[in-house]
């Protein structure tokens, strides 16, 4: 076995997901083909059986997530992967899972929307993934990778978080991060996950799983319990990368591929003496309110760089209680802003131009 420092291989983001999942001791993968997420299922089909683990192509997006639900209830941990419209179809079951506190991992490799849209990169699933998305008062933990390395690492982490908080966890990615190839250092294999006490296969026959509570007080208690959990998650799990934010006058906020382009823009601006910085949320729920709020103390402007119609921008405004102007730098439909586009957007704002 080669030395650890050399253990880097070239992987596509989508393939890296499956390495992360298997090393995290994921038991089952249930998938359905959809561009640009299909390579995740391809890799799972190739690698899960090599370790005797379950790979099954479901008949639909809906069936796939329901299989994840079933495996979770049986005390095993499973995952699925999809994109945009496929995620929309899964939402009902995700709500059931959140309510009955079933762990599971869902990878969303976002594509262009709305409707059938296209298969270009976009970030228009932000609201449907970060804000709950399905019916009722629930949220899921959402991790936002920006590289194949993080596709692997965040998927790996997602299983631990799902298990710890008994909740579905999303890895929210996009077409570029899913399709691109980069070197990845693989994490160590994890122990086999023990079947939890609460599972249907748990001790005795006492356990059951439900999300129907006809009595209003009973259902309110369930809701309150969930909200307490989300507060705990918000307190413990915020995460954000800070890039050149020291003394930044204008702070860009971006995740996924937008963040990588924005990094180039920030470097270029700094080179030209413009005090720009970037905050890259790596968790979207919980949103890194603390760091963004702190940045707003010093910066005069914030910019949300997103491949959507101003979805994350709402969370930025809430994070800073609208103390600073937050501007939207966005492209949609599968297009991405060039680094020059982002640069001129920032320069214009600093000159006092309208966003």
């Amino acid at each position: 076995m080669p030395e650890e420092k050399e253990m880097r291989i070239l992987l596509k983001g989508n393939d890296a997901v499956i390495y992360g999942a298997l090393l995290a001791s994921c038991d089952c993968f249930f998938g359905y083909p959809i561009t640009p997420a299909s390579e995740i299922a391809h890799s799972a089909a190739l690698l899960f059986p090599k370790l005797g683990r379950v790979f099954l192509q479901a008949e639909s997006e809906i069936a796939a997530i329901n299989m994840v639900f079933g495996a979770a209830a049986a005390g095993r941990i499973a995952m699925t992967a999809s994109s945009g419209l496929g995620i929309s179809l899964k939402q009902e079951c995700v709500s059931y899972m959140a309510t009955s506190e079933m762990p599971g991992v869902i990878v969303d490799v976002m594509r262009g929307g709305p409707g059938l849209g296209n298969i270009g990169p976009e970030q228009g699933d932000y609201n449907q993934v970060v804000k709950g998305g399905g019916h009722g008062n629930y949220k899921c933990i959402v991790l936002a990778p920006d590289s194949p390395q993080e596709m692997c690492d965040f998927t790996y982490l997602a299983f631990d978080l799902a298990e710890k908080y008994r909740t579905p966890v999303y890895v929210l990615s996009d077409g570029v991060i899913g399709q691109m190839l980069e070197s990845v250092k693989l994490p160590p294999p994890r122990e086999k996950r023990q079947s939890p006490e609460w599972s249907l296969t748990g001790p005795g026959r006492a356990n059951y799983v439900t999300s129907i509570f006809l009595d209003h007080d009973d259902l309110e208690s369930v809701n309150i319990k969930l909200q307490r959990k989300y507060s705990e998650i918000a307190a413990n799990e915020q995460s954000c990368e800070s890039f050149m934010t020291d003394g930044a006058e204008i702070v860009l906020v971006a995740y996924g591929i937008s963040a990588r382009i924005a990094k180039n823009a920030v470097s270029n601006l700094r080179r030209d003496g413009v005090k720009a910085g970037l905050l890259r949320p790596t968790t979207l729920f919980p949103f890194p309110v603390r760091e963004i709020s702190l940045a707003a103390e010093k910066a005069s402007h914030l910019v949300s760089v997103e491949l959507s119609n101003g979805q994350m921008i709402d969370d930025i405004r809430l994070a800073i209680s609208c103390r600073r102007p937050v501007h939207l730098c966005s492209r949609m439909g599968g297009n991405m802003p060039s680094e020059t586009e982002i640069e001129s957007f920032c320069r214009k704002i600093l000159r006092g131009g309208a966003a």
Partner: protein, 479 residues
């Protein structure tokens, strides 16, 4: 003769503690409803077949949503119609457990028909118990897929019209037409004689599940007196006289004796084995560190699908990786598998690469006229473009401040013996402009790329050399 003991079946709780509210001894079902009878048959079968300890009941949306109140067995309430999918998740991850789905006609035959048919067709090792009472009970008596012609419901107030809603859905007939299912039978809960048959059918299905034989379906014609607006006796009579005429009783399929038990794989979690399967082999690892300077080099390869554009980019990426550089490769990905446009961006750097997107290329490889027209203005000042003269008719207006070199790549490739090696030829040509990556790293990348296609490895290695030679000559001539 065996002594008959009357009493509560062992698989029922003595007190229904899971049921909220005051009532802990009664079920929530209406008088005359078939669910009560079927629940009793299930509870008896679970006890008698010694299945109580390892059977999971999957409950639908419908009147039987609260089935888990009553059974001393693990239960799960699942989204409307999805019981067979949830059951699949359970039984695939824990094949040592027996899984039973309990579904009504709205749940199974309307919103969940796909899940049912697909689970049946995969031969999942589960039993599906289908309660057909020809109506949506819980929501207040709407028309179901199995509602009889002329039957009045809340949503067919003039009677089910064949013209408007078609004939009742025949589930047993559909499922038994598939090859995978083991056992399909339709029974009724309307008379003691029918109930005895139903009891036997249920036990046969459970036995097959226990023996891991595969998919069983039992359909129960069942009464819903409240929504039929009839008494219990009238409802049973209605089943006898009307329902059975549309839904003939009997065994539709029983091939359990011919089937071997399923033998699912044993999952592997041993760390050494997991590492062995997933960790990279020696030839997948990069060579190590390169000088930490500011080197960054952006490449764009473009042509049409089938020309090996993406794999050419991958070979560049692999060579850079072998050399110890950081590298990103990003394909354009289109719905066209062949013949459409294809391009990829490769960024090579001695540091972590911020963006994988190439806005201005230091090196551009062009394989088609379309690609030339689309990308020629995306060149960095002082950059180099190599294009395939055999596929590009016109350069049009030349981009300024860069070097443009034509090469008859396709023709040379054909002369070498295979038109498909034009991409490796171009790789050889472009390698001349990327001296930070050694020749041996490129050759290693080619070897890796064709590791599973030994036959064409040699010709590709030759093509690489030919590309290097041709371009060097072309450059020398120009100078």
């Amino acid at each position: 003769m065996r002594k008959v003991v009357f009493g509560k079946p062992g698989a029922f709780f003595d007190l229904f503690e899971r049921r909220p509210g005051q009532i802990k001894t009664n079920m929530h079902y209406c008088p005359g409803c078939g669910h009560g009878i079927l629940h009793k048959l299930i509870a008896e079968a679970l006890s008698d077949l010694d299945m109580q300890k390892d059977t999971i009941m999957v409950w639908p949306v419908g009147c039987s949503v609260f089935g888990y109140y009553y059974f001393d067995a693990p239960g799960i309430s699942v989204p409307h119609g999805r019981a067979p999918a949830v059951a699949t998740g359970i039984v695939r991850s824990r094949p040592d457990f027996n899984v039973v789905c309990y579904q009504g006609d709205g749940d199974l035959a309307a919103i969940g028909l796909n899940e049912l048919i697909q689970a049946a067709n995969r031969g999942e090792n589960i039993t599906v118990l289908f309660v057909n009472n020809a109506t949506y009970g819980m929501t207040g008596g709407q028309m179901a897929p199995t509602t009889l012609p002329g039957q009045k419901t809340q949503t067919s107030p003039y009677g089910r019209s064949i013209e408007n809603e078609g004939y009742p859905m025949k589930i047993c007939e559909m499922v038994s037409a598939l090859d995978s299912p083991v056992y399909v039978e339709r029974v009724a809960l309307s008379t003691p004689a029918h109930i005895r048959k139903a009891r036997a059918a249920l036990r046969k299905a459970f036995s097959y599940t226990k023996e891991k034989k595969g998919f069983s379906l039992v359909e129960f014609l069942s009464a819903c007196p409240v929504n039929l607006k009839m008494s219990a006796e009238e409802s049973d009579k209605w089943i006898q006289e009307k329902m059975i005429a549309h839904f003939p009783l009997g065994i539709y399929k029983d091939v359990g004796a011919d089937r071997n038990p399923k033998t699912p794989a044993t999952p592997e979690y041993d760390k050494a084995i997991v590492k062995d399967i997933l960790y990279p082999q020696d030839d997948e690892l990069g060579a190590g560190a390169v000088p930490a300077d500011d080197f960054i080099f952006k490449i764009k390869c473009a042509g049409f699908g089938g020309q090996g554009i993406l794999s050419m980019g991958l070979m560049i990426a692999e060579a850079a990786h072998q050399q110890g550089f950081q590298v990103t490769w990003l394909p354009s990905y289109g719905p066209e598998m062949r013949g459409g446009t294809a391009n990829c961006s490769v960024v090579v750097s001695s540091r972590k690469i911020p963006s994988p997107i190439v806005e201005k290329a230091d090196l551009m490889i062009i394989f088609s006229q379309l690609a030339m027209d689309k990308f020629k203005n995306g060149m960095e000042d002082g950059g180099t473009m190599i294009y395939d003269e055999n596929n590009v008719v016109s350069l049009g207006e030349k981009p300024a401040n860069c070097r443009i070199i034509g090469m008859n790549a396709s023709e040379i490739a054909k002369n070498l013996g295979d038109a498909r090696i034009a991409n490796t030829l171009m790789l050889g040509a472009m390698s001349v402009f990327m001296r930070r990556i050694s020749r041996s790293s490129f050759l290693k990348a080619i070897r890796k790329s064709f590791a599973r296609k030994e036959k064409v490895l040699d010709i590709n290695l030759r093509a690489f050399g030919e590309g290097e030679k041709t371009i060097s000559k072309a450059v020398a001539e120009k100078i």
